[in-house]
Subunit: 218 residues, 2 copies
């Protein structure tokens, strides 16, 4: 019984680290987007710097997971949970990279020209953050309905992305001096679309934990 | 001695799978680029389909690595080798995703308008493939000089990327009907730049194996 209790404690520790990593990633996306909206290059630079913390947490999660596998030799659902932790932290790290990419786009845009309206990009960012929180909860609570909701929301992001692509490209040649900004915003649009894809992978890891087999949410 | 021999055989098996995965990824990049160059949508679709094979190989490598860790409880260099295999296969999978992204850009470009000159993108692709092969060899042969070469070549790709970005954006507004093509080529430029970054991560995994500590090649 003590062994099992220790194992449960270690799993709990793994969960806490994953929650912390996700929280930092949400903050990174929010900050990167604020930097973009307010053309705040300083804030963008901070997002890039702070990404190290997220990378370190992924490393810690991997080490804890590997230590747990070596020590406890878990099987079935326990093993799926630990492998899920490794896979999910790798996806979260990729998502945080998109935060960094948005920050880099912000720096490339600079503050020379005022920014065009980016409400559709902001809406995508908001949907992504809701998705990310739901995907994590679906894994921790083993909630299949929530995992499916994430898959549906990915379609929503894809639709936004198509509309935004058309909008941005239609403005491309109106003002020569804003070409660079529009190209960077097209990149941001792409990053957010990919963010939603990686969040959907997290929900698929949750589905794999729950169902015990690969599950396609898209 | 038999135990060690079995372990060496398993490591060898891991290496063979990693080589196979890398080979398929190189083929995917080459095919995706040929599809782009010849505006061959059929070939692009095939690249997307065949990506499953690469994903499956990553899964196999992960399972073998986990099984090895649980069974052999390796330490020091042996453990670093196995963790390196997991990390590298994850990077190779990301690189293959860029092949898929290039294929998707090819489909979006379609065959309506003839393609502009893409020799600088092609040069980047070629450097990336040389880098990828070098990075893998640096890991398997524990060759630090080769790992450093990869880091230097990443700078080369970044320079190409800056030049290509300027070229493509300068053409953006010349012909309205080619805007979509140019935006997609800007994406391809970005994918290749990121490909080189992920290959540099592989070389850093090699450096970690060799030096036993984190090593920044950039």
């Amino acid at each position: 019984m003590v062994v099992r209790e220790n194992f449960e404690n270690s799993l709990q520790e793994l969960q806490v680290k994953m929650e912390e990593m996700t929280q930092l990633t949400v903050e990174s996306l929010e900050k990167a987007f604020n930097a973009l909206k307010t053309q705040d290059v300083e804030l963008a630079l901070r997002v890039i710097e702070e990404d190290n913390e997220i990378d370190d947490l992924e490393e810690e999660i991997n080490q804890l997971a590997i230590w747990l596998m070596v020590k406890e030799q878990p099987v079935a659902r326990d093993l799926r949970k630990i492998i899920g932790a490794i896979k999910i932290s790798s996806e979260v790290e990729r998502i945080a990279d998109f935060g960094v990419n948005i920050a880099k786009a912000t720096i490339k845009i600079g503050s020379g020209n005022s920014l065009m309206n980016i409400t559709s990009l902001e809406a995508m960012k908001n949907v992504c953050i809701t998705m990310l929180n739901k995907a994590l909860i679906s894994f921790f609570d083993e909630n299949m309905a929530l995992a499916k909701e994430v898959g549906d929301m990915d379609d929503e992001v894809d639709e936004y992305s198509d509309v935004t692509y058309k909008q941005l490209t239609s403005h491309l040649c109106e003002k020569q001096e804003e070409t660079n900004q529009l190209v960077q915003l097209l990149f941001v649009n792409r990053y957010l679309e990919r963010t939603a894809d990686h969040i959907t992978n997290i929900a698929e890891s949750a589905a794999y934990l729950i169902k015990g087999r690969k599950y396609d949410l898209n």
